[in-house]
Symmetry: C2
Subunit: 126 residues, 2 copies
DNA sequence: TATACCACTTTCCTAAAGTATACCGCTTTC
DNA sequence: GAAAGCGGTATACTTTAGGAAAGTGGTATA
């Protein structure tokens, strides 16, 4: 088939589709964890220590229990946060960042660094 | 009101709501630019040089012209990519990353770094 | 006995993101 | 003169993210 030569002529990229997705997959994995409206706020809240469910909710305005519950489960599945249940009168539940969760800090730092410059730029242009 | 003392007892966080959103806003700005299904793939595609519309579309499987058009416009608005129209027979249009767009590289690098470790971890756990 | 707190879950809903398909005007190639 | 490539737009649809409100089971408090 001539489509093969054709593609070679029209797509002079040195990245094959496989190489490209190989580069992108980890980036997507990282974004899956950080994107969304609440995940980062929750992670940030937990960087300051153990927190209880209602305590996190109180700290983040607008966060509903449904969302908090969902996000915490995802953080748990990804082993970024851990859940500790204490056998008290009505159960006490505490959440905390795992050591692994703390490895996100440099990444969040980069996001913050770039975001800050970008924000300045946007404001300056207006 | 006693609710004030109450809140003080229950929320011993040293971050006020304003401080917190001050930290988060730039991070959100950065994520706005990077999250979504196609933005990063397009940026990555452009890190290897100028590209034409159809060329980008061919390189990224599943990307529809509507989405590509929308995303490129957003990249342009944010001054991360530039559009060059050449006055040829049927117009030729080229897109390229601006120098500013290239400042995203370290950030994407961090995403990639963390994402790679995370991916290994997930696979190891399964 | 009524009210309130804790840690959630359930149901229903809307808005935004993304997909599918067709089309436009223009030009070169078959 | 039909088909195909270019750089898109238009329309209609589905899917996903997220929100609002109520409820659950247990306990403690007034």
């Amino acid at each position: 088939m001539e489509t093969v030569e054709h593609d070679k002529r029209k797509c002079p990229t040195h990245l094959s589709t496989e190489e490209c997705s190989k580069t992108l997959l980890p980036v997507k994995d990282a974004l899956d964890i950080l994107s969304g409206k609440w995940k980062l706020q929750i992670i940030l809240s937990l960087t300051f220590g153990k927190k209880r469910f209602k305590q996190i909710q109180r700290e983040i305005p607008g966060l509903t229990p449904k969302m908090l519950s969902k996000e915490l489960k995802e953080l748990e599945i990804n082993e970024l946060a851990s859940r500790h249940v204490y056998d008290t009168s009505p159960v006490t539940v505490e959440y905390e960042l795992t050591p692994y969760g703390k490895t996100l800090k440099p990444l969040i730092g980069e996001l913050h660094k770039w975001g800050t410059k970008h924000r300045k730029r946007i404001i300056a242009r207006k």
